[in-house]
């Protein structure tokens, strides 16, 4: 049983899949516990298993072996509907390629998770959307479609969209990979600011050492195994 402040616990998680005729061991027995309010970086080179860990934490992929416990329940005992609800309420994603809905404008993209959650009145939704639009500094881009925004602006929309439902945890898969270093730094600053202000747990993957510097805790992964788990003091 995980402690109450544990958001998710992975125990001896293995993930194998076939790539053509080759068996790929993406994770080879990973154990990890993520606590509320952490700002955690999963670091490692390409192909080390960073994204696979994030997919396991976000319950969008299932392990070949081992257990994942969310809110005291093993994931394998949860139905598709339960997992969908988990993704809708508990966890939010920030994608490397932003993954905004191309036909919706900035405001509508950020409002979408609230509509999926069937959050209250239009007034309440508007207040929450506008709050996060201001937080990410896009109040002058409300009506713009994703194609009319720069990469940094798109990622800021993605961050606002991820945060608008006030999730317990935000998973970000290389959130700065498609951005220049200055913009990437700003995005990380913004995530840190929200982590501090809202207490939202952030788990993000990266192979960039400058980005890792922002993290409170860094889990290093290599060839599907956690090789180090270090916490920064303070």
């Amino acid at each position: 049983m995980a402690p109450a402040d544990t958001v998710i616990k992975l125990s001896e998680v293995r993930k194998e899949y076939m790539l053509g005729t080759t068996l790929v061991e993406a994770l080879r027995g990973v154990s990890l516990e993520v606590k509320r309010g952490e700002f955690l970086a999963v670091a490692g080179p390409s192909g080390s298993g960073k994204s696979t860990i994030l997919n396991m934490i976000g319950c969008i992929d299932t392990p070949t072996a081992g257990t994942i416990i969310i809110n005291g329940k093993e994931v394998e005992h949860l139905s598709d509907r339960d997992l969908t609800r988990y993704r809708r309420v508990t966890v939010s994603f920030i994608f490397q390629s932003f993954n905004l809905i191309p036909v919706l404008n900035v405001y509508e993209n950020i409002e979408l998770p609230l509509l999926l959650q069937k959050v209250g009145s239009q007034t309440e939704r508007h207040e929450r959307v506008m709050h996060f639009i201001n937080e990410v500094g896009l109040s002058d881009r409300i009506k713009n479609k994703p194609t009319e925004l720069s990469g940094g602006q798109r990622q800021r929309v993605a961050i606002a969209r991820a945060l608008v439902t006030r999730p317990v945890m935000v998973l970000a898969d290389e959130p700065t990979a498609n951005l220049d270093s200055a913009t990437g730094g700003k995005i990380l600053d913004l995530m840190q600011k929200i982590n501090a202000a809202e207490g939202t747990t952030f788990v993000f993957s990266t192979h960039d050492t400058h980005i890792m510097d922002h993290a409170q805790r860094i889990v290093h992964i290599l060839d599907g195994l956690i090789v180090s788990d270090e916490k920064k003091a303070g």
Binding site: L54, N55, R85, R88, N99, I101
Partner: protein, 467 residues
Amino acid sequence: MVTLKIALRSLLRRKVRMVLIGLLVFLGTMLIVMGETFSLSTSFSSKKSIIDNFTGDVILYSSKAKEKPTPFAFNSPLPVIGNSGHIEAWLDSNGLCVSHVAIAQNYGMMSIDKNGKKTDVPFIFYAVDPVKYYATFKNVSMQSGTFYNSLGTGIQEGVVLSVLQQQTYKKNYAVDLNEGDAVTLLSIGDAGSVNAQPSRIVGIYKPKYYSNVFNYINFLDITSYSRLYNFTGVDSASLPASVNNALAQQTDDDIFGLAGNTSSMVETSSLVSKELSGYTTIAVKLKEGVSGTLFRKRIAQMGFDVKCATWEESAGFFAYIGSLISGVIYGATILIFIIVIFILMNTLIINVLERTGEIGTLRAMGAEKGFVRLIFLWESFLLNGIASFAGMFASFVLIAIIAAGKGVILPDVVQQYLTGGAPLKLILSIRPFAEAIGLVGLVSVLATVYPVRVATKITPLKAMSDK
């Protein structure tokens, strides 16, 4: 509704592809509406034309007949209806029919003595009561003379020849028959005896409709016909009841069973001679709202010695043509819509595959499968709804314009079989539009089932791996 918003904008985002698909649905809808309208109009016109000019709503014929009545029963005429006078009197008084006419179909010879040359020619004919025939069927256009005394004046007895028949005699027999010419009608009895009846040509007519049938049919008045064929019999009222009953049973055993039965002894001096008409069929036009079924029931209750055929049974091939065209149109419609379903389904699958990342993102954000399904259903319904509405509107305008005109002129041979020769009048009916709505709805659902299945199987992992 966010699903509607996403669906609508996704359609607008792929304008060219959607316009092409919309055009396909638009044309498909037009084909359904126009095809169904054509089919309905054909069926209606064919039925009306056959009933108005050919058969009436029902045809009565002798219960002894083994064949159904047809317009061509000349070589093997149907048995004579023995009590046609009683039946016609009942038809006059029962309030079920608008008009009726008894007809005898037969063939005979005409002997023509003209310019010192005697020629015998064959002719087939309808023997009718001219006044009743003219009141029931409006298919006769007189080229010379009058149709007997149908309009209150004119000669009551003689032959009305068709134009084609007149031309055929001229070509094949070098006989030029015209109004007023004397002829001798010849009939050949069962035992080979020949009966002769002097007559004359009353007029020459051209059929207004169904010229491919009536070009070969001439008319003879019923009085001349009865005399020519000696249709004389015994009035059944002068026969003992047991004899009438046995005759009504129509079996040899019943009739021969009369032998030795003293109550069936017939005193020949008491028998009353009666001149019979020789009619083989009675065509009846029913009043509006009177069904053939009701008429059959009523006539069965009367116990007349007749059977009742519907207009479709009597018109045979001509009635079948309308159904055949409807069937072909329905078949073509189904084929078109199967094609539309496949093209639409293909396009929607391409849409789904192009939007794998988008769908995966929605699923990663916690969208239920139903949410994704609704987006694609909206897209399909919007596209098909708008295109089919436009198709229906265009069809409506087109049908209204054609219906206001003189009708659709088809090749004569087609028109002859469909409408008896008249241009096809299109009927603006709600049914083709209702069917188009139903079919488009069905297509929308069917064409969406598989793409939606593909879409809802897309996992959030796809969104994560869509780099």
